[in-house]
Every structure is written in C-alpha cells, then in structure tokens.
Amino acid sequence: MLIIFFRAIILYALVIFAIRLMGKRQLGELQPSELVITILVSNIATLPIEDINLPMTTGIIPILTLVCVDVIMSAITLKSRKFRRIICGSPKVIISHGKVDQTQLDRLRMSNDDLLAVLRGQDIFDISQVQFAIMETTGSISVMKKQSQDTLTPQDLNIQKEDTDPPIVVIEKGKIIKSNTDFLQLKPKDIEKICLHNKCTPSEVFLMTLDGSGNSIIIKENGK
C-alpha cells in the first residue's frame, strides 16, 4: 500500500513537472499534438500506480520523452512554417465576404447547427452579421462581424481616451507583491505612502490595486 502511495506522489510531481515543462500554452487551447500528449500522459501515469509489478521507469521515461519531444517539436514549428502546417494544420476560412463556404464546412465535418452554435456562443444570433469566420488550428472559431454590425468604439465617436494598463495587485493580505511593484516602477516606500494617505499601513490592507496612472483601490482587512 505504501508503495502505491509513494508512487502516486512521485508520479503526481512528475506530471505537474511535465505539464509545466510544456508551458502555459498547454493550459489554454490545445494543438492536436498537445491533445495527444495530454491524453497519453494521463494514461501512462496511471499504469505504474495501479500495477506495482511495473517499474516506475515504465511511467517516467515515456512521460518525459513525450513531453520533451513535444517541446522540441513546437520549437521547430516556430522556426519552420512548413513543419508547423504538417504538425498543427492550418486555419480554414468558413465564412468569407459574408458567404458560408459549404465545401469547407463539409471538409471539416461541421454541420450548420454546429456553426450556428459557435456563433451563438459569440453573441451572434444572425449569421448575416458575419463578414468573416475562420476555424483555428485549435478548433476554435474566430469571427469578424460586418462593419455595419460591429460595436461602436470611442474612436468611432471621436472621443479621445488615454491608453492605460489595467490595475494590478500590489498588496495581498498585508504583503507587498514585489514583482508587481517593480513592474509599476514603484518602491515599497511609495506603496506605504499611498497606504498612509488612505490612513492605513500595508499590513492592514486586504487588497490593493494600482494602475499606471496612479489610481489605487484599497480594501482594508476586516476589523482593521
């Protein structure tokens, strides 16, 4: 029993390491090769946990090999467009100039219902609003609305707005997050000053956010 326990812990750490090695892209939308790796890794990892007759290497070596090969392949795909096309495929245009490409839909084995469902998922209930739609290599569909149906922007209304970065967390549960203050090019003393201005100290702050223009939001901890 203890053997299974230790094996499970080791393989858990290994799978976490493998997923981290594959990078953040892995956690988002999966490319075909990444999907294959994910399924394989999850299957391989269970074998040596369940069967103590199998050496751990029968799990460790294939997991590491698959992940490493995938990372190396993705590095090659970055360099070679041709190779990328072979491994990841290419995006397919399914609506162009407002017209649905029926041949392409058939090739992608996608029904009209599937297409309409995806559009509805993007708040488009009328297909005539779509100018251009493309199926990405990850399987998701990107849609561009017709100009006449597009959302108004401040630029359309000739309203000048300053471009600012979104606010980021600088204090969480009384602790100053150094990487974020560095990003804002601020020193801990500056943060303390802002806190003092709001009649508190950093240790009393539950959450503090700050944007590039210096606008801050401070939420004090309960009872402080």
Binding site: L21, G23, I52, N53, L54, P55, M56, T57, T58, I61, L64, T65, V67, C68, V69, V71, I72, A75
Partner: protein, 126 residues
C-alpha cells in the same frame, strides 16, 4: 529556449541512461554466466562435489544484487521467474535431481532474453 534546452538535456539523459543500463545488464549477465558455467562444469565432473554448495550460495547472493539493480527497469514478474529458478537450484542439487542442469540452462536463457528484450531491436520495438 530554456525549456527546449532542458528537454534536449532530459532526452540526452534518458538515452545515456538507457545505454548505460544496457551495458550494465550485459556485464552482469556475463558475470552470472561465469557462475553458471562454473557450477555446471563441476557438477558434470562430480555431482556431489562440495565446491558446488558455496558456489550456489554465491550465485544466490549475486542474483539478489542483480535483482535489486535491474528491478527499476524490468517487470518484477519476469524477474520473479528467474528468482524461482535460482532458489530451486540448491534443493535440486541436494536431492540429486536431473532438473538441476535444465534449471541452470533456464536461468541462462531467461537472463539472455531479458537483455535481448532491452536491446532496441526492431522486433523488440514493434
């Protein structure tokens, strides 16, 4: 780029370890065959030669060491069969059984098979 370098390093380590393991397995097999040959030779000359007993004990010890070193690579059920054969040698010799020699050959064959299966031949890969 750091990830790619790390992956290349891991792949390189896996290949190196595999080659080293294969080499060690081959070396250990040669050592094991020496014991088996020696026992067989003495046994064929004189079935009741008392030199066989310490040699069998040495072989048992050597196999235990072999088992521990190789168990991280090979399914334990495969090694279990060889362990059974090694354990059977002493009682077979004591009871003057004819199967003694066949058991020695069985150990030799099974360990050779272990090495062959680890070697990346086309038939092993497929």
């Amino acid at each position: 780029m750091k990830r790619v370098k790390l992956c290349v390093l891991i792949i390189f380590m896996i290949i190196s370890m595999s080659i080293y393991t294969l080499y060690t397995l081959g070396k250990r097999n040669i050592e094991l065959y020496k014991y088996l040959d020696q026992i067989k030779q003495i046994y064929l000359a004189d079935k009741n030669d008392q030199r066989i007993e310490p040699l069998l004990a040495e072989l048992g010890g050597y196999w235990r060491d072999y088992y521990v070193n190789i168990s991280f690579l090979i399914q334990s059920s495969q090694l279990g069969d060889i362990s059974d054969s090694v354990a059977r040698l002493y009682p077979l010799w004591q009871s003057d059984c004819d199967e003694f020699l066949s058991e020695i050959e069985s150990i030799r064959y099974q360990t050779a098979l272990l090495y062959d299966n680890e070697f990346p031949n086309l038939h092993s890969i497929i």
